[in-house]
């Protein structure tokens, strides 16, 4: 099995576009690592440099501790799943999967066995004689997956492999990919801009923005301990709510926070030094409780039922926020109610830099 290490990895296109700005990253053996970030942040570029499809401007890529910068793709022992599948249209499914094995001069019977094995794993054993244009998008994607696992690579690279599938299939393929990862145990780098995909698949998530890594951590860490406003806003549906509050003097139980229709006390040591200043309070939709005698007054503006829970848009003064609410709680549109942020479940962010205060 294998590790992948990026050292000061940098990519400059056409001498001016800095797509990747010198990132450091260690992908552990057998790990499912997800590169997550908005469009154009350099995810694909990073992945292509690992695969050897893009020249490295500066820095190093190490696979199993060996620098592979000078090696062509075929010598890196990686396999890749492309966003648009890239299955070869002039080859049958069998030929597609067997191609890499034939190049390796594998024994004919062995090839057949291997193809059958991975076809079973990807659920396409009945399609082996078909050509790609006789397959649905989802089936083509499975062929791409089967082709990638057939070579038993050191490292799997997947560039938004699910983004061309419809919503339902995407969720199903997610489960299947995770299943396959569990059974193969291969080190995997998965690129996506869909945070829910990242959350459900990843052992660790790497959040990128403008060619730089913003945060690396388990899904739980990036969700509950987002390092800055960007991450807190990017992760989660609906994302973190941000309220602008001003910090008062320290009282017995903590700092008094005041804002538009807001007045409550929070015991957060990170607020030290911010007395008299404005900060951003970030709270996740599910970290808000509705209680009779809660300190904050709000008005219900919109209810979006999700089955298991309701998403409620609440108005506090001029500011809006979203709550994830148990459907049993009876709320009506334009009805006032009272809410409270669960203690210890909300964070403060510097309004200028966006950094979290209690890092």
């Amino acid at each position: 099995m294998a590790t992948v290490e990026l050292k000061r990895l940098k990519k400059v296109y056409d001498r001016k576009v800095e797509a990747v700005k010198g990132i450091d990253l260690m992908v552990r053996d057998g790990e499912f690592l997800v590169l997550l970030g908005p469009s154009g942040c350099g995810k694909t570029t990073t992945m292509r440099m690992i695969a050897g499809l893009e020249e490295i401007t500066e820095g190093e890529v190490l696979i199993d501790g060996i620098s592979v910068g000078e090696l062509p793709p075929r010598k890196r022992n990686v396999s890749m799943i492309f966003q648009n599948y890239a299955v070869w249209p002039h080859m049958t499914v069998f030929e597609n999967i067997a191609y890499a094995l034939k190049i390796k001069k594998m024994d004919k019977r062995e090839v057949e066995e291997r193809v059958k094995e991975v076809a079973n794993l990807s659920g396409i054993e009945s399609l082996l004689d078909r050509y790609p244009d006789q397959l649905s998008g989802g089936q083509q994607q499975r062929v791409a997956v089967a082709r990638a696992i057939a070579v038993r690579p050191k490292v799997f690279l997947m560039d938004e492999p699910l983004s061309n599938l419809d919503a339902k299939l995407r969720v199903q393929m997610r489960t299947d990919l995770k299943e396959i990862h569990r059974s193969t145990g291969a080190t995997t780098v998965f690129v996506t801009h869909d945070q829910s995909e990242a959350m459900s698949l990843a052992d660790r998530i790497v959040i990128m923005k403008d060619g730089a890594i913003i945060q690396t951590g388990t899904p739980d860490e990036v969700y509950h301990n987002s390092v800055n406003r960007f991450v807190a806003d990017f992760i989660g549906t609906p994302p973190t709510n941000f309220l602008s509050v001003s910090v008062g003097e320290k009282e017995e139980e903590g700092y008094r926070l005041k804002g538009d229709h807001l007045d409550f006390v929070a015991n957060h040591s990170s607020l030290a030094g911010f007395e008299g200043k404005e900060v951003l309070l970030g709270v996740r939709p599910e970290d808000i409780d509705i209680l009779e005698e809660a300190p904050i007054e709000a008005v219900c503006r919109l209810i979006e039922p999700q089955g298991s829970h309701n998403i409620v848009s609440a108005q506090i003064g001029e500011q809006r926020m979203k709550l994830s609410v148990n459907p049993d709680i009876d709320l009506k549109i334009d009805q006032p109610f009272r809410l409270v942020f669960k203690p210890g479940q909300y964070h403060f962010f510097d309004p200028e830099t966006g950094e979290r205060l209690d890092k």
Binding site: A51, G52, L53, P72, P73, R74, V78, S79, M80, F82, N84, A86, V87, W88, P89, H90, Y99, A100, I103, K104, Y131, P132, D133, R147, V151
Partner: protein, 350 residues
């Protein structure tokens, strides 16, 4: 019936009429040359031209003033047309072969005319030698068979040159970014703006200096000039239509660049390459003017056919036979290549 469906029908009718007109304008000349190639010389110079070649002729022999009188039955006027009055059966035999496409030896004719001793006339149906023009064409024209072989050589060399150079250029233009790419791509078409004759004149000197004047290779080079440009354009769009990921996938899965090209790019580009080679073939095969200028003792088949029309042998029916002979390799080539042109893969298209 409402107005909409009537309009639809009217449109359909128009399309049918136009297609039928197109088919006729293409088919009628083809039919004519095909039919003429089977006419005897006598038929070929009748007016109006017969639509169908006669397969058998009714011949009458009589005692004439000088010798035996040869007549042929003319269906249109419903009477016998007298052709010859001679005692020389050798002459008669030659006349029948050349003008009527009938093969009778002087001995056979003499045998038949012996019957005239007992009867006033001898009438017999003679089976026409339908392939007569084709045989004659290859007999009388200056080395038609070597010319045919030369033409095939030239076509093949032209295809090879233009596919290898034009195809490589097309691949480069499609896959690599470099300065002046669009200017280059456009300027390639420049070559085609000059008429073949204009290029052929200076080419005589250049080829002569290279020792390639009156050589198949020399002509192939001249024809390649035009078809490289066309091939470059066709293959550029073909290669652009092949997603780069398909090649990248092959490289990730263990293929070298060369292997990727052979296993992935080439098969996917095949329809376009086939279409290009079709163009190259037609350009080289049918071209007459440059060939006329650039050859002397080793003409191409097109030149031979041309000379059959204008040279000493000038007969329409022979030329027609030559023309048909010239079309046959084209048809065979088209038939072979058709399979590849139609072989499109999924979203990779011409």
């Amino acid at each position: 019936m409402n107005l909409k469906s009537m309009k639809k029908k009217a449109n359909l009718a128009t399309i049918y009429i136009i297609s039928v007109a197109i088919i006729f304008t293409i088919l009628i000349p083809v039919y004519f040359i095909f039919s003429i190639s089977f006419l005897s010389t006598r038929e070929a110079y009748q007016y109006p031209l017969p639509l169908f070649p006669e397969l058998r002729s009714k011949i009458k022999l009589e005692n004439g003033e000088r010798g035996v009188l040869l007549s042929i039955y003319d269906k249109r006027n419903d009477e016998y047309e007298t052709l010859l009055d001679t005692t020389d059966f050798k002459k008669m035999s030659t006349y029948m072969r050349v003008n009527l496409s009938l093969n009778y030896t002087p001995e056979e004719l003499e045998e038949k005319s012996k019957l005239l001793l007992t009867q006033t006339q001898v009438v017999f149906k003679a089976g026409k030698d339908v392939m007569h023009n084709y045989k004659t064409f290859f007999q009388v024209t200056r080395d038609a068979v070597p010319a045919l072989i030369r033409s095939i050589q030239i076509a093949i060399i032209t295809i090879l040159i233009s596919l290898s150079i034009g195809g490589t250029a097309g691949y480069t233009l499609a896959r690599y970014q470099f300065k002046g790419k669009h200017t280059l791509k456009f300027s390639i078409l420049f070559v085609r703006m000059f008429p073949g004759v204009a290029i052929a004149m200076p080419m005589v000197i250049i080829l002569a200096n290279m020792g390639l004047y009156d050589q198949p290779l020399g002509l192939s080079l001249v024809y390649s000039i035009g078809s490289i440009a066309l091939t470059t354009w066709i293959t550029t769009s073909i290669f652009l239509g092949i997603p780069v990921e398909l090649e990248e996938a092959a490289q990730v899965f263990g293929a070298t660049k060369l292997r990727t090209f052979i296993n992935i790019t080439l098969p996917l580009a095949l329809p376009g390459l086939a279409a290009s080679s079709m163009y190259a073939f037609l350009g080289a095969w049918n071209e007459t003017i440059s060939a006329l200028i650039l050859t002397q003792f080793k003409p191409t088949f097109a030149v031979v056919v041309y000379q059959a029309l204008y040279g000493s042998t000038g007969q329409v029916n022979l030329t027609a036979a030559g023309g048909i002979c010239m079309a046959i390799p084209t048809l065979i080539f088209t038939f072979i290549i058709r399979k590849y042109i139609n072989q499109m893969w999924g979203d990779v298209s011409v």
